[in-house]
């Protein structure tokens, strides 16, 4: 068995092991530290000697660590009662415990960055170093962020029902984070969302999982070998992962059948229509516009209306797209890039080139900036000939 496989298994057990400790009366912050210690120990020890009951092993080691830490901490003398007691086997943690952990780590009292860090550590089982690398901050900074987050939720009762919308928001943010490090955040977000979907039957959880799977399926086609962005219409669809697409569509259809539409299901439906098209030309833009209308009703987000303008441009022609765009605030992110694209399709290359160059100056990341500059350069080169 490779170390890789072990790590995946070890980390998948994180929330249930943590839940056992909390159920036995350990406070969340101390239990979380103890589980991290046990995970590190497992990564070290298991490649040579994998226990037959991995979860039992982790619980035993984590509980021992918790007791050691509690004993060592004189200020926590009041917990001595607990220490002297042999741990009762305790109630078997259920999937509900995993769900409670998600709620706790995405608690509304936490800022998004704190909730993300805490979720990745306490539910995902990542180390502070791995999370710090993924988000390009010093390890000490991430350690502080996590311990502050733990303090913030320390008073929250473990059995309080939470809001699934905050959990989904956190998982969505993890998935959408483009940074690279040792940890594949997109894959990690999918793993955590799968785990949540297994613990909690909810159409929007399924919708988010479908959305992630459908976007992840296109990942290999999204960048050229030199790292530059490849727009959807130009992607080599042969490189899309058909297995992930089939899974995503299956999950989405089951969710939609329950007739409780939400924003993630609607977004996934749009991604599914793109995935369904054998070529960019065969995309069902009319249906995509309808889904954007639905999405605009659900969220009232200006970003949705901007994307809708692109879809309208495809369904009814660039003039219609520009008309839809004219109704939106020009200071919206990517507004200029969308205008450039629609003007190009309308045949006004001079305006399009000027707008692409302007959009490049406003681009929020390097890959987009390079892409937009290339678009301007491409049109300028064509105009010179």
């Amino acid at each position: 068995m490779t170390t890789q496989v072990n790590e995946a298994l070890i980390r998948s057990l994180t929330p249930s092991v943590l839940a056992v400790l909390v159920r036995r009366g350990a406070d969340f912050a101390a239990a979380e530290d103890a589980v991290q210690d046990a995970l590190v120990e497992a990564v070290r020890a298991w490649p040579a000697d994998q226990p037959r009951d991995p979860k039992g092993w982790l619980v035993t080691v984590a509980w021992r660590r918790f007791l050691d830490a509690t004993r060592a901490d004189a200020a926590r003398r009041r917990r001595e009662d607990l220490v002297d007691e042999e741990p009762v086997p305790g109630p078997t943690p259920t999937v509900d415990d995993t769900l409670q952990l998600y709620f706790l780590c995405a608690h509304p009292s936490l800022t998004p960055s704190s909730a993300i860090a805490l979720t990745l550590r306490a539910v995902g089982g990542l180390t502070t170093r791995q999370i710090a690398q993924a988000y390009l901050v010093p390890e000490a900074t991430m350690a502080q962020r996590i311990s502050r987050a733990k303090r913030t939720v320390s008073g929250v009762r473990f059995d309080q029902p939470g809001d699934v919308a905050t959990v989904l928001r956190v998982l969505y943010l993890v998935f959408n984070e483009g940074y690279s490090g040792d940890v594949d955040l997109a894959a990690e977000a999918i793993r955590l969302t799968r785990q949540l979907a297994a613990a909690f039957d909810h159409p929007e959880v399924a919708g988010l999982l479908a959305l992630m799977l459908l976007h992840h399926a296109r990942r290999a086609a999204r960048t050229a070998p030199d790292g530059s962005l490849v727009p959807l219409a130009e992607q080599d669809r042969g490189r899309w992962d058909t297995k992930l697409i089939a899974e995503g569509i299956g999950v989405l259809q089951a969710a939609l059948a329950r007739d409780r539409l939400g924003e993630f299901q609607a977004q996934a439906a749009i991604a599914a229509l793109h995935a369904d098209a054998p070529t960019a030309e065969e995309t069902d833009w009319v249906q995509i516009v309808e889904w954007y209308d639905e999405l605009a009703r659900l969220t009232d987000s200006p970003v949705v209306r901007l994307n809708r303008a692109v879809a309208v441009g495809q369904a009814d022609g660039p003039r219609a797209g520009l008309a839809a765009l004219a109704e939106l605030d020009a200071s919206l992110p990517r507004h200029t890039a969308v205008a450039a694209y629609l003007h190009e399709r309308d045949g006004d290359l001079a305006t399009a080139a000027r707008l692409y160059a302007e959009a490049a100056r406003k681009a929020p990341n390097l890959a987009e900036r390079d892409h937009l500059t290339r678009q301007a350069a491409r049109l300028n080169a064509r105009r010179r000939h």
Partner: protein, 135 residues
């Protein structure tokens, strides 16, 4: 070892030799430029001289304290600001000569026509911690 900041300017540096705006290059020239920059950073990582590199958006805001209980004042962006940083690279090298050599290499990144831009980069030494042995 000494740390140096290599500063790249949108505005404020003397005009480069090959001074053509990027949107007037061909897409292939842009790709070659991006590749050169990536390769340069990759090479410095391999030699153990790379510390950090970041690009900055062109638009920024000036902010200052405005007194107890008042929100900070913001102003700008100022179109007339002479100096506008585009990005930086921090290197950790053995000597000033090595820092100059690397800055020269970075400035040779290809631009329009595939020819070096000869862009002016600003090289600034970090102020260091005081040494232990002083006499």
């Amino acid at each position: 070892m000494a740390k140096y900041l290599l500063l790249k300017h949108y505005r404020g540096a003397p005009a480069p030799v090959n001074n053509v705006p990027m949107d007037q290059w061909t897409p292939e020239e842009i790709s070659a430029h991006v590749q050169y920059m990536n390769d340069f950073a990759g090479r410095l990582e391999k030699t153990g001289e790379f510390v950090d590199g970041q690009a900055l958006a062109p638009e920024g805001t000036f902010v200052r304290y405005d007194g107890e209980g008042r929100p900070p004042v913001t102003d700008g962006p100022f179109a007339e600001t002479k100096d506008l940083i585009a990005g930086w690279m921090v290197i950790d090298v053995d000597s000033y000569e090595r820092a100059v050599e690397l800055a020269g290499e970075l400035s040779a990144a290809p631009g329009a026509g595939g020819k070096p831009i000869h862009e002016w980069l600003e090289l600034r030494p970090f102020l260091t911690a005081p040494p232990t042995i002083t006499e």
